[in-house]
Amino acid sequence: MTEREQERMQQLLKRTVRPVADHAYAESRHDLWPGMLRRLEAKPAAVPWFDWVLAGGVAMWLLFSPKAIPLLLYYL
């Protein structure tokens, strides 16, 4: 693919998807601090038991199949 093709695709993208800087959405009008305080006061969610089982299963799988590590990393 040439540089010219890349520029053409960029132009097409810009005509398709509006840059956020041009939009009122570029800035939030809400004060998010109250929401932050609520979040800080809430207890962190406990990790469900099946997540631990899943993590253990993946760890065992990687232990016995180390060749799968690059594959796993690729999809992360």
Binding site: M1, M9, L12, T16, V17, W33, M36
Partner: protein, 179 residues
């Protein structure tokens, strides 16, 4: 992008877990972090939630923050990771909000069908490529800034942009459109 830096005592207090210092930093950087995230995820409501998630992670990691370094750059890096997680977990073919799709202009080279097809192909981009393409090609952010936010080299950003463009071109060709 404007980067506001705080006096070092605020940063030091924050790194020791002081909530007042955290509030000062939150209020100072909330707009900047939100603006960065909304450019990536292109959804204002989600961007507000992700801004809170970013500052939540920042608060949890306060002990790892080095007050000698830039808080703004650190926050942007965390915000980018939060936005990346969001894009990975969101539905790949979810349409862009209508008001973030460019309005139809009397441009004979770009038909309505082409715009819609391109927008849909754009939402199918893998998250890592989509972030690079969004920031570099649509938002025109400098490659160096994108590289710092993603924690990769400028060359790696260029490779991702190249792969994103190739992906879009192939997607359009599959739809019978020669870009």
């Amino acid at each position: 992008m404007l980067v506001v830096e705080q006096p070092s005592d605020v940063l030091r207090q924050f790194s020791h877990g002081d909530l007042d210092a955290f509030e000062i930093l939150f209020r100072e950087h909330q707009g900047e972090v939100y603006g960065w995230i909304v450019r990536i995820v292109r959804d204002p409501a989600a961007a507000e939630d992700l801004t809170l998630e970013t500052f939540w992670r920042i608060h949890r990691a306060h002990a790892r923050f080095d007050p000698a370094r830039s808080f703004g750059a650190w926050a942007r890096r965390i915000a980018t990771n939060v936005a990346l997680d969001y894009l990975k977990s969101s539905r790949p073919e979810m349409d862009l909000p209508d008001d973030l799709v460019s309005p139809a202009l009397p441009d004979p080279a770009v038909t309505e069908e082409l715009r819609r097809t391109t927008a849909r192909a754009f939402t199918r981009l893998p998250a890592k490529l989509r972030i690079a393409a969004t920031l570099a090609l649509i938002e025109d952010r400098p490659y160096q800034e994108i590289a710092e936010a993603l924690g990769i080299s400028v060359s790696a950003v260029k490779v991702r942009v190249f792969r994103a463009v190739r992906f879009l071109r192939d997607e359009l060709k599959r739809q019978g459109i020669e870009p």
